[in-house]
Symmetry: C2
Subunit: 715 residues, 2 copies
């Protein structure tokens, strides 16, 4: 064995000794050698070198990522040089600050990629935009698009694109299913986990430009000098990737750590405390993003404790932020423990009277639906009804109600369904160029185009954790990816995003790409079918894992399951028409008209708004009871279909990932049947009808199923 | 570029794109190419092939590990064949069941490695012993020992060598500082994390042969059919590595999941429930190890709730295990919330009256010290005082009281200090061949040699978690390693174990090995000096992180800090002589004699047993106050020395690990000063004396330091 082959051999041995199966750590930034030699050669001719003219930490990130990515994809060394000279066939990174005919359509984060003098130029008005362009070019190669005559331009439609981490000081994550928090607070600021940078890279690749690192059920720790220093160390890692850090704040912090007697937002001492604290933060984090607040919600204190309202609280923090480029994100997720009220209506009732009363640095953050991240919800009636107040949308990437890290649910359709719904908040009139809707979609509320908001934002509750593959279920990486892509451009289709992700992450084999994309697109509806079909919701107790539609005891009525489905001998569903809670009246007349009549209300929302008789014949031709059974049974059976489909891609995906997902599908199938059995056995006690053919009655009893749930309630 | 070099290049690019810094995942099983060519060539001549004659899952693990390890270390392909024929220069794995002159000294886990007909033979009476031998051979190569004329024989001195995981059902770990639990209960049994196997490999490499996978504050979930299936899936992964699975059990499980009205251990229905449950477990886990029990301790229920004693409880479980090869490990960690009592004495008082009353399948598991895993404790007086009851020792690998994952504390000296202490339980008489002690060391109690126990066991509370490097602090891997090595052979020295670990894990450069080994050996005493010098203990509140010697309020007196140090204007320390709690009387007269007199009591235990005047002159020539200050100050300063020493090994260790440890040392230094300041400022209020020269008074006040601690008590 000569020296050279010996060396190759050592490398191979090294690779095998280290078990080079795909552990999912690299996410969609894989940069494995492109197998198609012709395509690789073609790309190689356009990527001989990288020119970095200017210099900044963010531009260095862009050039470094491009270099690493291209070297991996193309299998050759690619130098970074400061000037192209007369060379052709390279990539030029350049910031183009002065407005001109080429960049006039771009906003400050937007990029252009085009050919100029036989080089690919990536350009934008800021160094951040060039970073986004660099990732976009890599994505072109990863998804097999041509680059020789590339001409792309893209600007994000929403300005603040954030992840919200519900991470606690002790390392746990509220509703986290992928390990512990990424942030090692006990080690910071001195020890910097290399993973922080990879987190920033992944977000930057999607255009995510902000992150709230701590839980909205916030600890005041983060406002102490001890912790600000730790947060600053994280901010230093994120900054070269264009990511700003935000903090959730504990409203009574002036009392708990400031030693004041009150946290009244109109108290001068309190206001001074927040101003001083904000100054202290900006001193060490000059690009600090601002505050996220959960106040007077689910036991969290807030301005109402002092007879003030949400605007008083938010505006006080806005005043503290006045000298700086920072925001207040004030959450509208509120509901009182009123046994007579409809939780659905609470946010609207508390917030619409405050429209126009918020400071210009405040944005009100609204969950997509009126309740709480259900597998399917109608849109929150706040959207369209706060024309003078910038609203951001909060969606949940982590699968609190969609099967933790076990069930495969691709969420882009959930996000899209809300964003594309028409609020009709400006009536029926179509906006110019918009054919199918009035133009008042939730997306157009959020992106500012409808009401001319200057502040626009979108927040996703992160599904990341310390698991090696970041998200527990490898397929859940797609939800992080989809959130980021939609935050940039909500007009992208769920299908295109899925396809991109599959090609970048799993395989580029066309048949496998099609199979997996199809699975992803169907996955949410399958889940809804066995979990909460026809507009059912929240069949959980506190654990949010296993079915408990019978759950009827809690410290609050709206924390029981029966509050939501209202099953009785007559029928099923929550009457939110005028004969019931009348929550429907919070929507515009056009929306009410669509949903008010059980005959015309779309089936997916039927039981959200109507109490329907068991024997009522639906548009499917089946009675409510038969339709429910059909959904529960076919939903569970569909997981079997998912298993079969997944089995077909075995030759085309990494064996470790294949095995991992196969295992999760086995569990999902078992749990889907559990959901089915729990629902049909429980509802049957009210419906008093047999399981319709061809479905077979569950072999176990309702008590058996209840016993299974109890296991998960044990300490 | 020709094809071959192109291929090499791709590999290199791949390596660099994947960031091939050492992330610590491989632990001490690194198998990187041996750099010394002469040595490598020499080893290569003895490792041309591996012969596996017999076949079993465990033997396959042995051969597979050898192959992977040797290929990595030697950089060449090594075949596994079924017969050597006439070939020389290979490694033969063989089980040698029939007792003969060569293997007669081996116990069933013991191995021999020797040269026979110019091949290396690894042999033992069982397939497990061959597995241990395979790892031993790899260790020889990793630590640079010669193998050409190898002749080794080793049998473990203790039969059951276990890790105890305090892992909860929700993925958190009680006293875990390295991420979440390794066990993904929601994914099991269908999804098998590849990491389970690497966990088993690491343990098998040390000879660890059992693992208790759930917290002693146990959930009854683990005894449900749903969870037994999950546990069985783990057991299937561990079995080929000779590791048996055990469960912590919740004593009232017959009530909580069995539906019985009582959990009285003498109730026939309860006994039947346990017998049936045990049968159910063995049906799916035929090599199930048995039960670990924390009962009537810190709020956990137990037999005393029914007027029964520990033996009644343990013997009931032993009866359930009677048909099987399984054990009951009954913990002796008990203490009553009695304000007048000395917690130190509780376990002895409850357990010694039960000596001889336990079933032969029961072993009583005793923490090394009488209180709770302090940085330094005298040995538990149960050791030597239960001659008719097999006792196992429980030590804590996870750093609950030794600085979490931040402080660098190498624990072998803690474990050794206890194991080597002489209990004098058989009086002064030396055992044959033992010179310096009476032979009644704690180790000789534990390994059964003193009292002829048939059952012998040792348990370490694991420091593993989902962090990529398993233990958070990379240096804490050494504590897992040291526990395993001492569990096999408690006569190994702390120094030799440290050296082995450094060579296998960090570097083989002799100077760096010496520097790091020295750091490790000094690290525990340095920690004790700034944390709990001279026999101080438990200066914590519930959080166990930051200093709170002033902590004086709790639901129980023995959960305050002042209970332990008893500072007053006269002096400091807990009088456990006849004038005080008289806990010393629980030791043998020889031990009492050594520790009873404050003049002769070794300084490390002084304040454990004596209330000493501030002005008392100690054997060092300094007063108590001056000595305390000297320890606190030099302890903290020594962390600066650790930083300097660590800086010197920079060229010789992986850059990622170097940076990680450097960061942690910065934090450790800061926190060491915090400990120092907290203690001296607090004790000064009682001692009313100045900080002695040359030490400088802390710049901050006691209130400042108290405020710092408060941060860590905030939600």
């Amino acid at each position: 064995m000569n020296k050279l082959t010996g060396w190759i051999f050592s490398l191979l041995v090294l690779l095998s000794a280290n078990g080079f199966a795909d552990d999912g750590y690299r996410l969609w930034l894989k940069y494995d050698l492109i197998k198609d030699v012709a395509k690789r050669d073609d790309y190689t001719r356009s990527a001989q070198f990288i020119v970095l003219k200017e210099n900044s930490p963010i531009l260095k990130s862009a050039a470094g990522e491009l270099q690493m990515g291209l070297q991996g994809l193309l299998g050759k060394s690619i130098p970074i040089i400061t000037s192209a000279g007369n060379r052709k066939g390279g990539i030029i990174l350049t910031v183009d600050e002065v407005p001109n005919v080429d960049n006039q359509m771009l906003n400050s984060d937007g990029y252009r990629i085009f050919i100029k003098q036989a080089n690919i130029t990536i350009s934008g008005k800021t160094d951040k935009s060039v970073l986004y362009g660099a990732f976009a070019l890599l994505r072109q190669l990863q998804t097999g698009q041509p680059v020789r005559t590339i001409s792309l331009a893209s600007s994000p439609k929403i300005r603040y694109r954030l992840l919200n981490h519900w991470d606690n000081t002790n390392g746990t994550i509220e509703r986290g299913y992928a390990g512990e928090s990424l942030w090692k607070w006990y080690e910071l600021p001195a020890t910097i986990d290399p993973r922080y940078r990879d987190y920033a890279r992944a977000n930057a690749s999607l255009g995510i430009n902000g992150t709230v690192v701590n839980n909205v059920n916030a600890s005041a720790r983060f406002l102490t000098a001890e912790y600000i220093e730790k947060v600053a160390a994280l901010a230093n890692v994120f900054r070269p990737y264009g990511i700003r850090i935000y903090l959730s704040v504990y409203f009574p912090a002036p009392k708990t750590i400031g030693g004041l007697k009150t946290a009244d937002p109109l108290d001068p001492e309190v206001r001074k405390w927040w101003a001083d604290k904000t100054k202290e933060i900006y001193k060490v984090i000059p690009d600090f993003g601002g505050f996220l607040v959960k106040a007077n919600s689910e036991g969290e204190p807030g301005p109402q404790d002092y007879g003030r309202n949400h605007a008083d609280g938010a505006n006080m923090l806005a005043a503290a932020l006045a000298p700086y480029d920072g925001l207040v994100m004030w959450r509208a997720f509120v509901y009182k423990a009123d046994p007579k009220a409809d939780r659905f209506k609470a946010a609207y009732e508390e917030f619409t009277p405050l429209d126009g009363k918020f400071d210009k640095k405040v944005i009100v953050q609204v969950k997509n639906g009126p309740i709480d991240f259900q597998p399917r919800e109608p849109f929150s009636p706040l959207f369209g009804n706060m024309p003078q107040t910038p609203l951001s949308i909060e969606v949940q990437i982590t699968q609190e109600y969609t099967g933790f890290a076990t069930h495969w649910v691709y969420e882009a359709p959930i996000f899209k369904e809300c964003l594309e719904t028409d609020t009709y908040s400006k009536g029926k009139k179509n906006l110019p160029g918009v054919a199918k809707s009035s133009g008042s979609t939730v997306a157009n509320v959020i992106d500012g185009s409808l009401n001319g908001y200057e502040l626009t934002a979108i927040a996703g509750v992160a599904n990341t954790g310390s698991d090696r593959n970041w998200t527990g279920n490898p397929m859940a990486q797609a939800n992080w990816y989809a959130f980021g892509r939609l935050a940039w451009d909500h007009t992208l289709s769920s299908e295109n995003i899925a396809e991109e992700w599959v090609k970048m992450t799993l395989t580029t084999e066309p048949k496998a790409v099609a199979t997996i994309t199809n699975l992803m697109l169907k996955s949410r509806e399958i889940y809804v079918n066995y979990n909460t079909p026809l507009g059912l919701s929240r069949p959980w107790s506190g654990v949010h894992f296993a079915p408990e539609p019978w759950q009827n005891r809690s410290s609050r009525p709206d924390w029981t399951a029966i509050y939501y489905h209202r099953a009785d001998s007559a029928g099923l569903g929550f009457d939110r028409t005028a004969t019931g809670s009348n929550a429907l009246s919070q929507y515009s007349p056009e929306v009410q008209q669509k949903w008010n009549n059980p005959e015309t209300c779309p089936l997916p929302y039927l039981l959200w708004f109507h109490h329907v008789s068991w024997t009522k014949k639906l548009s499917t031709g089946r009675t409510l009871w038969d339709e429910l059974c059909t959904r529960f049974y076919t939903g569970a059976d569909s997981v079997g279909w998912m298993q079969q489909q997944w089995a077909q891609v075995k030759p085309d995906v990494d064996p470790a990932i294949f095995a991992d997902v196969s295992g999760r599908l086995i569990t999902q199938y078992k749990e889907a049947i559990w959901w089915r059995d729990a629902w049909v056995l429980y509802l049957q006690e009210y419906a008093r009808q047999p399981i319709p053919a061809p479905f077979k009655k569950p072999e176990r009893t309702l008590d058996d199923v209840k016993g299974l749930v109890d296991i998960y309630q044990l300490r």
